[in-house]
């Protein structure tokens, strides 16, 4: 029994407690990283910084990035006017004809940027929400943020005595829905369930209000408001897009900062607390990030459904179970959004299907396929 005492067992044998950090740096290759990881040691002033890189997660992220680049290039080339890859590349770098330049810089590039930013934001906030609620079905959409934004944007379009533009009002609507949900739930609650239930109620009310407004106006006005009810990348507001892009970058950095805590949050609260995680604070941060990113994304593209579910699910499927795939979710979400938008533009051209409809029509089966596939063994 005594042999098994942790103090008396030295796993790697050759080391003592003494030695300066310089010595340690020289022997850095001796430190064995855990299975499936690379250990990245960076000499820093005084001490050595060591990062663990999950190989499978890295490969998954690189794969998603590559797919996103390919699809991005495709969506620049394809459309009502097809450009050759060379022509698009020339136009992209300011060498093409005026017509090509206009197509790329004024139409397709902003649309691609909007697709990447909104898809990334929706999926990242979905991943955060699912982690904090420990529920793979939790998305910011089901807690009423989308519906709040839609109701306010539609109100603006049908002209209910407000002078703000729809994107700005969508943001106000998202904030209102969140504030209402928060107020009614009286905080996040211990597990976020209460918050979710309150959000479903708030969302239902806003959804009904939207329907009511659409039923009371003439068909042309209802038509103009339509994209705001399904989600579309057609009528992006450049200011909202800029704000979203900056926020997504900040959001990614902040969520990386709490990534280790989020990893532990997948255990029960008492286990997480026992490991020194400030559970409530971590959850509050994740919720704040999730809600703000969704609100900003909705103000750009409207309530695009399913991305917050498919993105994280795809990322979890490709990545290892060792961590919460934050970056992977954002990449997967961007990929889903860009490919859905591309499909929507091409399928019934010259008619354009709003991206929200494509994500729902194609996203549903894709989600089912991911869920029903037998789980792969982790290498």
């Amino acid at each position: 029994m005594d042999t098994s005492s942790p103090a008396s067992t030295t796993g790697l044998g050759d080391l003592s407690d003494s030695g300066s950090s310089a010595d340690h740096r020289q022997q850095a290759d001796v430190i064995r990283p855990p299975a499936g990881h690379w250990r990245l040691a960076l000499p820093m002033a005084g001490n050595e910084a060591a990062l663990l890189i999950d190989r499978r997660a890295l490969v998954a992220n690189l794969g998603l990035l590559l797919a996103l680049l390919i699809l991005g290039a495709l969506s620049l080339c394809l459309g009502s006017v097809t450009l050759s890859p060379l022509a698009s590349a020339r136009a992209l770098f300011g060498q093409g004809s005026a017509m090509d330049s206009f197509l790329i810089h004024e139409l397709r590039l902003p649309r691609l940027a909007a697709g990447i930013a909104t898809g990334g934001a929706f999926a990242l906030s979905g991943c955060l929400m699912q982690t904090l609620a420990r529920n793979r079905l939790a998305t910011p959409g089901i807690i009423g943020i989308d519906n709040g934004a839609t109701a306010f944007a539609v109100a603006s379009v049908v002209g209910l005595g407000v002078s703000l533009a729809p994107p700005a009002l969508a943001l106000v609507g998202a904030a209102t829905a969140t504030a209402l949900t928060f107020g009614l739930a009286g905080g996040i609650g211990t597990r976020g369930y209460r918050f979710i239930v309150a959000g479903i109620g708030v969302g239902a009310v806003f959804g009904a209000l939207t329907q009511l407004m659409l039923a009371r106006v003439d068909i042309d006005t209802a038509n103009a408001a339509y994209p705001w009810t399904v989600g579309s990348l057609n009528a992006r507001d450049p200011v909202s897009l800029k704000v979203l892009e900056v926020s997504l970058l900040i959001g990614l950095l902040l969520s990386r900062r709490i990534a280790q805590a989020l990893n532990v949050l997948r255990f029960s609260d008492s286990v997480a607390a026992g490991l020194g995680i400030q559970v409530t604070r971590c959850r509050r941060w994740a919720l704040m990030l999730s809600v703000s990113l969704t609100a900003l994304a909705v103000s750009v593209a409207g309530p695009v459904g399913m991305v917050a579910l498919i993105g994280p699910e795809l990322a979890r499927h490709l990545s290892s179970p060792r961590g919460v795939p934050l970056v992977g979710s954002a990449l997967a979400g961007a990929l889903v959004m860009v490919s859905a938008d591309l499909a929507g533009r091409l399928m019934l051209a010259p008619l354009e299907i709003p991206v929200g409809i494509v994500t729902a029509v194609i996203g549903g089966p894709v989600l089912l396929w991911i869920l029903l596939r037998p789980t792969r063994k982790v290498p």
Partner: protein, 296 residues
């Protein structure tokens, strides 16, 4: 081994402790109910303390309070003389490890990966894997006799192995204090012994271990110090041999029995158990109805 009831160097102690649920939003009406009131306890250093008592007597609540999962309504818990409420979360996790009853791991996690989470309190954003981390995870695997199973996923293991993996995670926290909440309750006899022997080896390595146990025979055999709780109070504590009497068992569980002595270890054994036909049975009923309230 001296049975010291109030050791001067108790690493963890509670004074006039009052604990209860019902803060926050759950059940506003009955929020004032306290599970534990006016409790004093100090845990002998380097020994195994077992907390026993009927369902709903507050064992798990006490353990959670000692590990700061609940803030006390009154009184305080002291770790090495320091109020536990004033210790930063991460530092506390380097000084005290808790294995709660409700353990649930993300799908597909392997034993080694689980144990690595025990290093979390020692790691930082830029210190994700040190030589020490590698060494401690190896030795925690060895201590729990799981080295050969390191790459097995948790779902593919027996209950006893899984419980040892969880304890190994707590070991990897390298804390002088370990609090284990009913680590044996779902296990068969052989697997229970695996866990108890692991607990003894931890104490032999100088750690202070607190363990909530249901099986009194095992508690008597493997613990140095026994704490008997009833309705949120400690009604007896000391060496198992000195503490366990038929009167105590009647008060705790409402049972009558014959007490034998283990021919090898000398620890008390309960034989010929039967329900006592006394009003004490009502105490048991009350206690379990309190369990329902506090669990809600």
């Amino acid at each position: 081994m001296m049975p010291t009831h109030h050791p001067t160097s108790a690493p963890l102690s509670a004074h006039d402790l009052e604990l209860g649920y019902g803060h926050g939003n759950a059940g506003r009406g009955k929020s004032q109910h306290s599970v534990i009131e006016g409790l004093n306890i100090s845990l002998p250093a380097g020994q195994v303390t077992a907390i026993v008592g009927p369902n709903g007597c507050g064992k798990s609540t006490l353990l959670a309070g000692l590990a700061r999962l609940h803030a006390p309504r009154r009184g305080a818990v002291h770790l090495d003389g320091q109020d536990i409420q004033h210790i930063p979360a991460k530092e506390l996790a380097r000084r005290l490890a808790l294995l709660p009853q409700e353990t649930h791991a993300p799908e597909g996690l392997t034993v080694a990966e689980l144990i690595r989470f025990g290093r979390q309190p020692h790691q930082g954003f830029l210190q994700q894997w040190s030589r020490e981390d590698a060494r401690v995870v190896e030795s925690a695997l060895a201590a729990a006799n799981l080295t050969a199973l390191a790459d097995r996923t948790l779902d593919a293991m027996s209950g006893g192995q899984r419980q040892r993996a969880w304890i190994a995670m707590a070991i990897a926290q390298q804390t002088p204090l370990l609090l284990l909440d009913e680590p044996t309750s779902a296990l068969d006899l052989g697997h229970q012994l695996e866990v108890f022997e692991l607990v003894r080896s931890l104490a032999a390595a100088g750690k202070t271990v607190v363990i909530v146990v249901h099986d009194l025979d095992s508690a008597c055999r493997f613990a140095d110090h026994l704490v008997a709780m009833q309705a949120g109070r400690i009604i007896a504590e000391g060496r198992p041999k000195d503490v366990v009497t038929t009167a105590l068992l009647r008060e705790l569980y409402g049972i009558d029995c014959t007490l034998l002595s283990d021919p090898v270890t000398g620890s008390p054994i309960l034989a010929n158990m039967r329900r006592a036909a006394t009003p004490n049975a009502d105490n048991g009923m009350q206690a379990s109805s309190q369990a329902c309230v506090s669990g809600a």
